[in-house]
Each structure stands twice: as structure tokens, then as C-alpha cells.
Point group: C2
């Protein structure tokens, strides 16, 4: 049994961060820490990081009375990312392999994550990072699988990163369903955020039915599960979706940056590595 012990201190930190987006009242912030800490013993030993996160962020929303503590942060990051949409699209179209290039960019976009990184400078980093090495690189399988797919389910992660996702989706021929969180949690993408990111122009937007910062199938809606179980290929962005779906038997590609040591160790890569990892994908002849 895997126990995600290192996630507890991290989530206490996140609770404080989320609270501070709503109030500067230190008494209220201590109340949040107390409530979150009191809940820790009731979280099952085998809870994954997204399960812990779901519980903790619900407490923050309850105590602050703010249903979306990251609203302003999300708006700022989305606005910033949108400025670079044109340049990203040009970069991808001008590249020798637009689909691979767009996949790489969408992984770079995964660094936009207020859970862990607050000072990402999009302008300076996008293209320098897009040339960096990968900890796991199943790009050949990725291209092959997408070429043969007639339906794709794309599991979104952070707002702002959504703009990078749009660039990738535009390189995919098959119809794409873009799954979002069922409600606000962290800076994760909701239906409203996905629409604001322009994802409605290139995909069908589908809420997961759960406000966990990941994809907890037990909490997801029937409509989401149908899409999950029927898609030819699933593209999963970010750590939260990886942590909740790494054991699935569905054909899936995990696109993420390994931002924390827990996830990096699980993937067998270095912290900070970019990852494009295939699971349950049949390698076609010649790949």
C-alpha cells in the first residue's frame, strides 16, 4: 500500500495559500489550518494526493465562504497565456513535426500550477523549455495512436495551461472531448474556465462531476465515465490526473512535468523532468 505521506505537509501549505487568496485575517487563516489539520486523521491511509486535496480544499472553501479562492489568479494566468497563443500556434505550424511540437508545448504549459509554482515567467520560458529533454518520451507511440484514433478524451489540469492545450487539440484530427473539474479546486480548469480559454471552439467541454484536483473515477458522473470508457485514446495532463489514473487499464498518455518528488519517484524520473508516458497502448509494428 502506497501512503502519500509527503502530501500532507504540502496540502497544509496549499490550504494556507488558498486562504490567503481570500483573506489576510490571520485568525481566520489559523482556523483554516486547525480545521485542515483536524481532518488529517480521518483521511484513509491509502488516500492518494488528489483525494487528500479534494478534502482539504473543500474545507478552505467552507471556512472562507469563497467558492473559488483561485478565481483572480486563474484570470491573471489565463490572460497572460492568451497573449502567447498566436506565437505558440506559429511555432507549432512552422515546426517539422507540428503534433510532436504541440505536445511538447502543452507539457511545458503544465508548469503553470499555483499549487507548486508561483513565479513562472511564461514569456521567457515557453520556447526555451520546449527544447528541453524528456524524462520519458513516448512521442512515437503518441503520434501513431492519435493518427488511428476516432475519439479522444483530453483531461485538463490548470487554467492558463488550457491555452497550450488548445494549441495541441488543434493539431489532432479526431474529435476531442475536453474534461474539466466538476467545480473549483486549486487553479484547476472548470467548465467556465475552459470556455474562457476558447476550448469550446475546438472541443466538447465535459465536467468530470467531481471537484477533486485529479480524476477520481468513484466521484465522476456517468456521462464522464462513458466518455472515459469509450474514448480511443485518453490524454491526461498534469500530476493530479496521473496520481489518480496511473493504475487504469484504459489506453492513455500522461503529459506532465514532474513537479514534486513524490510523482517524480513514482515515474522513475528526476524532479522537473518533462514526461510523455504511454500506458496500455499497443506498440504498432515498426515503432
Amino acid at each position: 500500500m502506497k501512503i502519500y505521506l509527503d502530501c500532507y505537509p504540502c496540502f497544509l501549505k496549499q490550504a494556507l495559500q488558498a486562504g490567503r487568496f481570500v483573506t489576510k485575517d490571520e485568525e481566520v487563516l489559523k482556523d483554516i489550518l486547525d480545521a485542515v489539520a483536524s481532518t488529517v486523521p480521518s483521511i484513509p491511509k491509502d488516500a492518494t494526493s488528489p483525494m487528500i486535496g479534494a478534502v482539504i480544499h473543500r474545507i478552505v472553501r467552507d471556512i472562507t465562504g469563497e467558492d473559488d479562492p483561485y478565481r483572480q489568479v486563474k484570470a491573471e494566468k489565463l490572460s497572460e497565456a492568451k497573449k502567447h497563443y498566436g506565437a505558440m500556434l506559429d511555432h507549432v505550424r512552422a515546426s517539422a513535426d507540428p503534433l510532436a511540437s504541440a505536445a511538447r508545448l502543452s507539457i511545458v504549459g503544465n508548469i503553470i500550477d499555483y499549487a507548486l509554482v508561483q513565479d513562472f515567467d511564461i514569456e521567457n520560458e515557453i520556447f526555451s523549455m520546449a527544447g528541453s529533454g524528456m524524462g520519458i518520451d513516448d512521442t512515437a507511440l503518441f503520434k501513431e495512436a492519435l493518427a488511428n484514433a476516432s475519439s479522444v478524451l483530453y483531461l485538463g489540469d490548470n487554467v492558463g495551461e488550457t491555452v497550450f492545450d488548445k494549441v495541441l487539440i488543434e493539431q489532432i484530427d479526431a474529435p476531442v472531448t475536453y474534461a474539466v473539474r466538476g467545480g473549483p479546486v486549486l487553479n484547476d480548469v472548470t467548465e467556465e474556465d475552459a470556455e474562457a480559454s476558447g476550448l469550446g471552439e475546438v472541443s466538447r467541454i465535459l465536467p468530470s462531476g467531481s471537484d477533486a484536483p485529479g480524476t477520481l473515477l468513484d466521484e465522476c458522473s456517468g456521462e464522464f465515465l462513458e466518455a472515459f470508457n469509450s474514448a480511443d485514446v485518453i490524454l491526461s495532463k498534469g500530476q493530479g490526473n496521473y496520481e489518480s489514473l496511473s493504475g487504469t487499464d484504459r489506453p492513455i498518455f500522461f503529459l506532465l512535468r514532474a513537479k514534486c518528488s513524490v510523482v517524480a519517484a513514482d515515474l522513475g524520473v528526476n524532479r522537473g523532468d518533462f514526461v510523455l508516458k504511454a500506458a496500455n497502448i499497443q506498440a504498432p509494428v515498426g515503432v
Copy 2:
């Protein structure tokens, strides 16, 4: 009222770290996290970091049954630091201002802190850092005060750093009392550790009477308080002593590296800065 909110996630992390020095059993480690987290709401809102640390590390020792989880780590760091004792003494003696040079070295030694830094490479860093800038530099007052002192109380911090402290104490003419924690907590120096560091050769070793990772006067022994209240000059090493004594009216110098953002902000320096800060010291004419 100052609430040290950021210390709570950090101490949860420390509890996990301390537990892992004793056991690899994840069930036990989750029990430690649960017990520590459960205690958070009972910690007063105005508790300082050393007060929180005292509570949390007592829990770790209770649950693991190990009265000194950092025993081996302390022994390793002490052994490593001792190898450099001769070179440090040579460096100080060869310098134009041995007392100032030894003070600077002792502040560099403050980086040896398993609470926050696990990978300090003594060999490479000691002398390069000894030339770095200071966030606060009251060296002139420090030299003047020590020249006029007939008794000095030196509040120790981490094991390993103790060897650096010994080098500094050897440059001080007045008799020095070296205060240590009343019992094991973190990698902080106890009476046994101070003896093993050779501090008995250059000072009188005096336990504080408290096992808090700092100097909580309410918890200290009468003998310690007598030394604290009668010393001409107090030298206080590290963050924990600073956090618990920053409001004192006794003549004191704080020697530390600002390793966390909470302490750096309180001191008005950048995180990572070296600090030699005077408090309640009368500036003599000409300084």
C-alpha cells in the same frame, strides 16, 4: 499578534523527517502525522515557531519510542565538521581580524541544520561562504562588546555547528558559558553533544532545562535564567533562539543564517542572508 502560520506545514514536514530517521514503517509514519495534525488546533494562536516545534517533536519521540531521532545524523555531521576544525582555526588565526573572522565562520556553520538543509557540503562551502555579504552586520559593536565583557553566555543551536562555535569561543577572552538544549530535539545540541564537540575544553556547558528547539524562558531552569540575566553579553545562534528571544531586553547578538522566509521577513533581510544583529547594546563612542 504575530501568528507563525507558515511554521505549521513546515513542522508537519519535520515530524515526517524525524520519524523517517527512526522507522520506514509507513503506517507508523502516518500515525505520527495524524497525532501531530490532531494537536495543531490545541497550539495557541500566538505560539512561536520554537513552541510549536517543542510540542511536535515531543509527539514524534513519544510515538517512535526513540528519545533522539536525530542521533545518527548528529553524529555524522559532528564527525564531518570536526575534520575541518584545524583548517578553520588556521583560517581564523591567519586572518587580519580573527574575532570577526571566527564570528563569520560560526554564522556559516549555522547552515548545518537538518530542520531545513540536508545536503550542505561543508568542505566546499565553508570558506567560499565565509567571504559572502551580510544582511545585517553589527560586527563593530560585537567586537567592542566582547572586548569589554567579563562574562559571555553563548546559546548553541545545531550539532556540527558546535565545532564552528568552538573556534569562535577560542577567540573570546572572557569566560564563556555554552548553553545547550535540556534534551534532544531536532539536531540541536544537548549536553552530551556539546561534550562530544569539545566545547567542554573551552567553556562551561549549561543545559537550558527545556527541550524546545529555541530558548523559551518560561521553560528554562533557574540556573539557566541566572546565567541569562547576569551575563554581560549573550551570543545567540540560529533561528530558533532568535525566534524565542527577539523581544528580550538583555544585551544580545543574534548570529544566524536566515534560512526560512518567516525569519528573513522578521529581520528585514533576504532569505539566505547571513546576520550578525545587535540588540540592547549601547554603541560606544566612535562606533
